[in-house]
């Protein structure tokens, strides 16, 4: 490979890494992160309440994995990862424009795509950590009697992988929205709780236009539980196809975000 191209690639990755570490540190300190950390702990609180009520009641004990699956379906997949990806994804660009701090970044010797990818990676990692902490705690609390049953950890890993893919995919989409729309949050809310919530229940191949379709296709077959109506009309795509589609969508929106951010002019209002 030509030395110059090699140097450019190295420079690009070094710049991206520097942006990543800057925004990872910064992202962990913001009020927004602290508030969302609290929200992501709601299922842990719920798990504790359920467990305590099970301990102190003499009624029929509900299987921990069953409750855990429902929690993932209702709270994480349909709500939390969407909200987290929306607020963190759109803010990759929009918080710099609204806070007028963009000027410090675009007057540094870093390629604009390196900034986008670096900050996206930092914020995505923060969101994954937030979700993972809540999921793991909930899992441990709900399965405290069966922690030595290692087959249950497979389920935990599978759910975590699905949620991670969801976060990567939604965040890249919302980041793209944030790079060119001023009211990206509003659009994002409409997309999350309008489009995604409706299109996934359409029959036939139309449901494949919703990201959540691919995420649900990756869930274990028994994951519906009491909330099996959420899998209503799901005509699952194959796991390979689902993973491919989620990665493809992520990649497309990452590239589009880089292109828009490089070409668009951001006017910082005085």
């Amino acid at each position: 490979m030509d030395m110059k191209i090699k140097e450019k690639i190295t420079f690009f990755f070094t710049s991206g890494r520097n942006v990543f570490s800057f925004f990872l540190r910064l992202g962990l300190k913001t009020k927004k992160t602290k508030i969302f950390y609290l929200i992501s702990f709601l299922p842990v609180l719920m798990s504790l309440i359920i467990k305590f009520s099970q301990v102190f009641s003499n009624g029929r004990q509900i299987e921990g994995t069953f409750i855990f699956s429902n929690m993932i379906m209702v709270f994480y997949l349909q709500f939390l990862i969407l909200i987290l990806a929306l607020f963190f994804g759109t803010s990759v660009c929009s918080e710099e424009v609204e806070g007028k701090t963009l000027t410090y970044l675009v007057t540094r010797p870093i390629p604009k795509p390196a900034f986008i990818l670096g900050k996206y990676s930092a914020y995505t990692l923060i969101v994954i950590l937030m979700v993972a902490v809540g999921v793991i705690f909930s899992f441990v609390i709900l399965n405290v009697d069966n922690l030595l049953d290692f087959s249950r950890y497979k389920i935990l890993l599978r759910y975590m992988a699905v949620l991670t893919l969801g976060i990567l995919c939604y965040s890249s989409f919302f980041m793209f929205i944030g790079t060119f729309l001023k009211r990206s949050i509003l659009f994002g809310l409409i997309f999350s709780f309008g489009w995604e919530n409706v299109v996934q229940y359409f029959p036939g191949s139309t449901q494949r236009f919703a990201i959540v379709h691919y995420l649900k296709s990756l869930l274990p077959p028994s994951s519906g539980g009491r909330f099996s109506f959420l899998l209503f009309r799901l005509e699952p795509s194959s796991p390979g196809m689902s993973i491919f589609m989620l990665l493809l969508i992520t990649g497309i929106f990452l590239v589009l975000s880089c292109v828009v951010f490089s070409l668009k002019e951001y006017i910082l209002d005085d």
Partner: protein, 307 residues
């Protein structure tokens, strides 16, 4: 070869004209960009740093196009006008992180940040969060991020805003030091004496157009033909008026009895101010306030363009 070169540079925001047909060549040394608020100074500085796209025209720095040419920014330092920061960070974290974006190693970034903070006298407060900084400290921190990576070209948008007189003098002295090191510095301001204290090369900008350009004496002469009104709030306004009324550079004197103040209209502001202290001392007149209500660039520009 000029360091910064613009050709027919024009920018508008919808129907609002930001900058119109600006062709300039800026060489090393300090160049003052002077104009009233809304004249187009910030637009010009954002265009030459590639933050905005010109509608018409070109910008080149050292012969290279600026927009999306990230490698140029290793030799440019930019101080924005807005008071914007990552408020959750400390001054130290802010500076070291920005330096790391220049690909400096941790040690190098820390060394450079420490040097810059010492220069702007913020090293004692470096571990405080920026949110707790005063306006002046924030302004000095903005200046620190300009100088920290030792750029060849410094572009400073109203760098003296919010600084106390002592802070202003220090920054002006610093800017002059960098000029002696051979750097190219563009400073914008809407306050003539600030620019005057730094450089003789100035560009007057008004309503998005370059109004005049050249040596400060030429522009000073233009401006000096404009009468200035000076308001003095003091213990004995009538006595003070009697001492000046016969001077040929004093055109009119008015009284505002209710506020115990005197309005003096002069066509030689410098001479008036050189005489004022001795008159005040000799006559034992106590002064509460001296302001110059007319001394804003807008009034001067309006006068010069014959409004």
């Amino acid at each position: 070869m000029p360091i910064i070169e613009t050709k027919n540079l024009s920018k508008w925001y919808g129907n609002v004209l930001g900058l119109s047909d600006v062709t300039l060549q800026i060489e090393s040394g300090i160049t003052g960009l002077l104009g009233p608020n809304g004249a187009g100074k910030s637009t010009f500085l954002r265009l030459i740093t590639g933050q905005l796209k010109p509608n018409i025209g070109t910008v080149k720095i050292k012969g290279k196009k600026v927009r999306n040419n990230y490698s140029l920014f290793s030799i440019i330092g930019f101080c924005p006008e807005q008071d914007c920061f990552y408020d959750e960070l400390t001054g130290w974290q802010f500076l070291t992180n920005l330096l790391k974006l220049h690909n400096f190693s941790n040690d190098e970034a820390e060394r450079k940040a420490q040097e810059a903070l010492e220069i702007v006298e913020l090293s004692d407060d470096k571990n405080r969060v920026i949110r707790s900084y005063s306006k002046g400290m924030r302004q000095r921190l903005k200046f620190a991020q300009v100088i920290a990576h030792d750029p060849e070209i410094m572009i400073l948008d109203e760098p003296l805003n919010g600084l106390d007189p002592l802070g202003r003098r220090k920054i002006i002295r610093l800017i002059k030091t960098y000029q002696r090191e051979g750097k190219t510095i563009i400073v914008s301001s809407h306050v003539l004496p600030e620019i005057e204290a730094m450089t003789k090369k100035i560009i007057l900008i008004h309503q998005g157009k370059i109004f005049a350009q050249g040596n400060i004496h030429y522009i000073r002469d233009l401006i000096d033909t404009h009468p200035h009104i000076i308001s003095i709030k003091c213990s004995h306004p009538r006595e003070l008026a009697s001492k000046f009324i016969h001077e040929n550079y004093v055109l009119k004197v008015h009284f505002a009895i209710a506020s115990n103040s005197l309005l003096v209209e002069t066509n030689n502001r410098d001479k008036f101010f050189s005489q004022l202290p001795s008159v005040l001392i000799e006559n034992n007149i106590k002064v509460d306030e001296i302001t110059s209500p007319d001394d804003n660039l807008q009034a001067v520009f309006d006068y010069l363009i014959g409004k």
